[in-house]
């Protein structure tokens, strides 16, 4: 089934946040700091205030005090500067050009304070953190015992850089007040969280806040929190008494709207000569800001991936004068599976064992920590199908042994395990049969690219036994039945059961009525996951990914020629959108392995490559063949639709598969991402 919102998207009719322009809209532009740490000493705003078209300049000097202001965002409540590029003012003008110009006229004088930017020296300063309330330190078995019994050990450090989400759509807010009622179109993947937070910050009842986000141009985790610009847009709208449209430009998105933090991961693996793991120790250091703690939970997947009796995981945070990090596609899992799956490849080589066979030898039939069965796990089939489709059995394990005669390129084959937890939260949905025979499905969820509009239509259609083209879907509005944040791959898993339940109830209601009712008939349902489920079973998705790279031995350039991946994610509701999500995750994995790197200037704490020219994400020519398939075995233990979620698993393991392939091609093991050509030249290592 094609996407139901496809036509809107290909004709440019799908409207994104910045495309809503109420009558009398004024334009807001944020001013951001150019130092990493200090206080604003003085801001000369005179020229800005008197510039053409300017309606107001708001700075910490004159910003209204917000009753529920949070220190986690920069909303002009004080003069502190905690990172370079932090919001420190807003200019509002009749036109965008006028606002930009006026902002450039503001002169800021800072009182400098020493800044902490060096991640490396921070290890000793690390403190424990939690991720979504779960402890960062967790161990089971006896790690020292396990290591002492190991006949082979791998002990390495793996590093991943600061990564910025860079969705194609910049963050934007269009805020409009009506008395103390706020309507805000916003680039958010969490409308209900947004509503609650904004209400609290402005000290107004939650029902006074109306948040709309009908199409989101990519989120990937950076649009889940309330960031400074949303509050500043609303503040500006109240200040100038007009609707205000505020859109970040691309360089402004490096710092104030979250990033994946860098990690330093120390992996120790111990195994017997037969390949069976006796010990895994995974220690993670990640950075956070001075404003708020966020922990990249890289060692969390380590707790479920392999049947190892002795596992120790530890996370430490260090504060730096950088913007607060946040969830990024497969938070923790993307970076953690990179490290552990490269370590496993290194172990395979130390054991002279096939990397796939090593994974299979350590297959976990039950959750290694809780000892509970998985809600559904068919990873073994993913391994064998994936290996088959890829041709893995033809692999000569010797590094550099596979060469392409015609080009001289070195071919490398690598593989990795993929995993992502299955998440689910309570959600509500309404389904209504209208007198004209069309059905409305309404749910306060989001369309961030995963095909939510289509999935809701599809599930309702199936349940009602009608064609999907009789269905209209509404989402992205806090006036609709409440649904959770679209993150953690939980949208389908949370909202489709709600739609299914509402449609089922509607069907029952319709059965009792005459053929052509004059009124609409509707049903609304709220469903929630079984609280006891996690005591009975462990919900996780798995997959296997195989990568082929071609490396130029003289120039060091790496091309990912093909990827084969097979997934076990429960039921895939829509084959077309599901496939696209897997591919999207894999492209992020390629990007993590080879391209993305935020360069923070050590003296100023300023991002040097804060634009899409120098911050590299893959272009079309970087992406070769991607063969994805799913087992599509429904997981009815997890929810009534059998679906566990798709959006993030593609990035997990992929960066490791590519790194392992590069090693296979060259014999060079690069342990810090991205793998750029200079790192493959062993004579001239640059950092």
């Amino acid at each position: 089934m094609n996407r139901v919102d496809g036509r809107l998207k290909v004709t440019g009719a799908a409207r994104f946040t910045a495309e809503f322009t109420p009558p009398n809209t004024a334009y807001g532009v944020i001013l951001q700091s150019t130092i990493a740490h200090g206080r604003i000493g003085r801001m000369d705003v005179g020229k800005a205030e008197h510039a053409d078209g300017v309606l107001g300049v708001i700075t910490p000097r004159n910003a209204p005090k917000l009753p529920g202001a949070e220190s986690r965002i920069s909303i002009l409540q004080n003069s502190n500067v905690e990172y370079n590029n932090q919001p420190i003012g807003v200019v509002v003008a009749e036109s965008y050009e006028q606002a930009v110009h006026a902002a450039a006229l503001i002169k800021v004088r800072y009182d400098f304070l020493p800044s902490k930017l060096d991640f490396q020296s921070g290890f000793v300063r690390g403190y424990p953190g939690t991720h979504n309330g779960e402890p960062g330190d967790l161990a089971f078995g006896d790690i020292d015992e396990g290591l002492s019994h190991a006949e082979v050990r791998i002990d390495q450090v793996y590093r991943t850089p600061i990564m910025h989400h860079n969705p194609m759509e910049p963050h934007a807010s269009v805020a409009q007040w009506d008395g103390d009622r706020l309507t805000i179109h916003d680039t958010t993947q969490n409308i209900s969280g947004h509503k609650q937070k904004l209400a609290a910050i402005f000290g107004i009842p939650a029902e006074n806040v109306h948040v709309v986000s009908v199409f989101l141009g990519g989120g990937f985790g950076c649009k889940g929190e309330v960031w400074s610009h949303s509050v500043l847009a609303a503040m500006a709208a109240r200040y100038v008494r007009r609707p205000v449209k505020l859109v970040l430009d691309r360089p402004q998105m490096f710092g104030p709207v979250g990033a994946r933090p860098q990690t330093y991961q120390h992996l120790t693996l111990g195994a017997g000569r037969d390949g069976k793991l006796t010990a895994i120790r995974h220690e993670v250091l990640a950075h956070t800001s001075y404003i708020e703690d966020y922990l990249e939970s890289s060692a969390f997947p380590t707790r479920v991936m392999y049947a190892c009796p002795n596992v120790s995981t530890m996370h430490r945070l260090v504060q730096l004068n950088l913007g607060t990090p946040t969830y990024a596609r497969a938070p923790g899992v993307a970076t953690g599976t990179y490290a552990i799956e490269v370590a496993m490849d290194e172990l395979a080589y130390a054991l002279r064992m096939d990397p796939l066979a090593l994974r299979q030898a350590n297959y976990a039939e039950v959750d290694p920590h809780s000892k509970l069965p998985f809600t559904g796990k068919h990873l073994d089939e993913c391994y064998s199908r994936g290996a088959d489709r890829f041709g893995w059995s033809k692999r000569n394990p010797e590094p550099g042994s596979m060469r392409e005669e015609s080009s001289g390129l070195r071919i490398g084959w690598g593989m990795a395990t993929e995993t992502y937890p299955a998440n689910r939260r309570p959600a509500s949905a309404l389904v209504r049969m209208k007198p004209d025979g069309r059905v409305l499905v309404a749910c306060g969820t989001h369309e961030i690219g995963g095909g939510t509009y289509s999935m809701l239509a599809q599930v309702a259609a199936e349940t009602l036994g009608i064609s999907a083209d009789r269905i209209d879907v509404q989402l992205g509005d806090t006036l609709l039945p409440e649904a959770p944040i679209s993150a953690g791959s939980m949208t389908a898993a949370s909202v489709t059961p709600a739609v299914q339940a509402a449609a089922t109830q509607l069907k029952a209601k319709l059965q009792g009525r005459s053929a052509n009712p004059n009124d609409a008939v509707e049903a609304e349902a709220k469903v929630a996951p079984d609280e006891m489920l996690k005591q009975k079973a462990s919900p996780h998705s798995f997959g296997a990914v195989f990568a082929e790279v071609a490396v130029d031995p003289e120039l060091g350039t790496v091309k990912v020629r093909r990827i084969v991946a097979v997934y076990d994610v429960g039921r895939v509701i829509n084959e077309q959108t599901g496939r696209s999500q897997f591919i999207g995750g894999i492209v992020w994995g390629i990007s993590l392995a080879l391209h993305e790197n935020t360069l923070v200037d050590a003296r100023t704490g300023r991002v040097a490559n804060g634009n899409l020219s120098e911050y590299h994400v893959p272009v079309n020519a970087d992406i070769g063949e991607i063969d994805v398939s799913a087992l599509n075995i429904p997981d009815m233990v997890f929810n009534s639709v059998g679906a566990r979620g798709i959006g993030e698993i593609g990035i997990t393991g992929t960066a490791a598969a590519i790194s392992n392939a590069v090693f296979h091609a060259t014999g060079i093991r690069v342990r810090d991402l991205p793998i750029t050509l200079d790192k493959l030249n062993t004579h001239q290592q640059s950092r």
């Binding site: 300023r606 272009v619 001239q684």
Partner: protein, 329 residues
């Protein structure tokens, strides 16, 4: 952007007049570099003279058998022009490896010569140190991120590189640049068009502030059958060169009669590796020769903390480009 006055004259004289009036007047052609820098606040002209109505788009053969490229011809039209594809494939290849198709449709030949460096410390006015943008303020790159910066011809004041691909090919092809001012028309030999930073990093070129580029002239083609433009970058497309090589050979059977090697991504201007060229002349085109000669290109290289890899990469790239140009394995 700062406010500016906008004109779109139809006569060349008006343009030159406007340029000689004020040094806060800038020419707008394709806009792909200037408008970008104006948005960053790096360029703040008081007046923009849009020259897109001038009649400078022609690409045509010259009497001596060379080709004249109008300054306002778009990069894409130039690369795809039959005369260029046939006689100067090196130039075609170089242009098509740069930027993106959309930008190549907008960008002009004159503008390509004048594009400014992509050094992070230059393009972002939030960085306090940039001798090019703010003379005397220091160089942010020397002690900062300099992976994409120069290994040849830099100075203690500036280590920026010239970002153009087209210019590297033009350097190899011995192009000349025809310009006009109120004093008349003059010709600038390509090696003298762009400058090294020295202690005047503010200046990218030797073009006078009141001069308008009319055309880029190419001498009669000698290298059509043996040339190759090799561009090495961090992703497969739409990225600036880490290192690039324009290699062109004129052959006498298996011997090299003339060699041209120009390098991109290594200096403030396209770098003619003349020592390599001299080493190649009169010898058989074979890999061992290329490898020996290529090393000469980096003999005087002064790498920085993050770009030492270029000292290895450049010779490899030269060997590869020469091999492809010479049809040698």
């Amino acid at each position: 952007m700062f406010p500016f006055e906008y004109d779109r004259p139809t006569q060349q004289e008006k343009v030159i007049d406007a340029l000689s009036h004020s040094n806060r007047t800038k020419i707008l052609a394709g806009g792909t570099n200037l408008v970008d820098l104006m948005k960053n606040g790096v360029e703040q002209p008081e007046r923009l003279v849009d020259i897109n109505r001038l009649d400078l788009t022609t690409i045509a053969q010259l009497d001596d058998g060379g080709v004249r490229l109008g300054a306002l011809a778009h990069n894409s039209d130039t690369a795809n022009h039959p005369l260029i594809r046939e006689r100067y494939p090196l130039l075609s290849q170089a242009i098509l490896s740069g930027a993106s198709p959309q930008l190549r449709n907008m960008a002009t030949n004159g503008g390509n010569l004048l594009q400014r460096t992509r050094c992070y410390y230059f393009t972002d006015s939030g960085f306090p140190q940039c001798n090019k943008r703010l003379p005397g303020s220091g160089c942010g790159a020397i002690e900062g991120f300099n992976r994409i910066h120069a290994i040849l011809g830099g100075s203690s004041q500036c280590v920026a590189t010239h970002p153009s691909d087209m210019c590297v090919a033009l350097a190899a092809l011995d192009a000349t640049v025809r310009v006009q001012s109120s004093k008349g028309v003059r010709t600038i030999e390509f090696p003298n068009f762009h400058r090294l930073p020295g202690d005047t990093p503010r200046l990218d070129t030797n073009l006078e502030p009141d001069e308008l580029i009319l055309s880029i002239d190419l001498p009669p083609s000698r290298f059509a059958s043996h040339s190759h433009y090799l561009k090495i970058r961090d992703r497969a497309s739409y990225a600036f060169a880490l290192v690039s090589v324009a290699a062109a050979l004129e052959m006498d059977d298996e011997k090299i009669r003339t060699a041209r090697i120009a390098l991109g991504g290594v200096a403030h201007k396209p770098w003619r590796a003349t020592e390599v060229e001299k080493e190649l002349v009169g010898r058989r085109a074979e890999r061992t020769l290329f490898e020996l000669a290529a090393r000469l290109a980096v003999r005087d290289a002064r790498p920085l903390n993050h770009n030492m890899f270029k000292v290895e990469l450049v010779p490899h790239a030269i060997v590869r480009a020469l091999s492809l140009a010479g049809g040698v394995a």
